[in-house]
Symmetry: C2
Subunit: 154 residues, 2 copies
DNA sequence: GTGTTGTATGTTATAGTATATCACGGTCAA
DNA sequence: TTGACCGTGATATACTATAACATACAACAC
């Protein structure tokens, strides 16, 4: 599941890009962080923290929750991944890394999540916030429903 | 906390309105559901399920989690309350009940959440979804940051 | 070299959020 | 009166996330 829509870029290419992003931020893509990022790529869609945890392996038994949560925090902080609030899940950023606000279209049927640029929606949100004199730090825009494929299947 | 911005309407008035909404949907505002709704009103801001649970009282000891979650599901289903995904919290609908998509502006400092109409933002979201042939069932738009008061205080 | 600082990770425990499941009682219509 | 539906009670458990403290190691100043 979630293995459809393979990303055009080669895995090695994305990895180099991710490392470049980290270096640019003065941070390091450590083995653990890289592993979690690759698991997110492999998932190809929303992934739960504990599912990632189970796939972490590790020589001295399984990894512990803080390990994967720290890595996820890091990846989200650098824009390499996103947190999907309405699923309590995480997804690799569809374009490598982005500082932009993105929208997730989450299919209730197949569980996949499509990431699209927020575009004008965020502009309007900024207007609304300005009218309320509210200073936005972070924006979450998520819509759930049926993706094109699942509509066709139904 | 959260007790500022008292709602203009009288509590009894809101209650009648809520009952009307339920009746209109062919549903019943049972004592438990009403109790949870009143707790949300009393809170005046985002409330956590387990905090509500603790305030439920009940003669034979405290209420159990499913009781409050069922009531919350009901209230959200009828538009009498909203779920705030990025807080894992719930809030009474600011206008009694609404079918509309609303935006929450969540203050990181005081924890209050202001509910505003989605307005154009949701139109743009609809456009974006249509372009992806995605059929939206539910929309979550939440922004967090600093409210006007907390900006002034800082 | 020694100490110090900062960052990443390991480890244990626990807090916090949510639902599955089965049982019980009431209402209402067939 | 029986059966379907709904709301609730009750128990248990699943799932999500973080606190708190310990360890390791590299970079740098002295």
């Amino acid at each position: 599941m979630h293995s459809h829509h393979a990303h055009p870029e080669d895995r090695a290419e994305r990895l180099v890009e991710a490392q470049r992003v980290c270096a640019g931020a003065g941070e390091t893509l450590t083995p653990i962080r890289q592993k979690v990022l690759e698991l997110l790529w492999a998932e190809g869609g929303p992934a739960k923290a504990y599912d990632l945890l189970a796939k972490m392996g590790g020589e001295s038994g399984a990894a512990k929750p803080p390990t994967v949560y720290r890595a996820l925090d890091f990846l989200v902080r650098l824009g390499l991944a996103h947190r999907i609030e309405s699923l309590n899940a995480f997804a690799a950023c569809g374009v490598g890394a982005c500082a932009r606000t993105t929208i997730f279209l989450i299919c209730d049927s197949c569980g996949d999540a499509q990431e699209i640029d927020a575009g004008h929606a965020v502009v309007d949100l900024d207007h609304a916030a300005a009218a309320a004199r509210f200073q936005i730090r972070r924006t979450v825009i998520e819509a759930s429903g049926l993706c094109a494929q699942c509509q066709a299947a139904a």
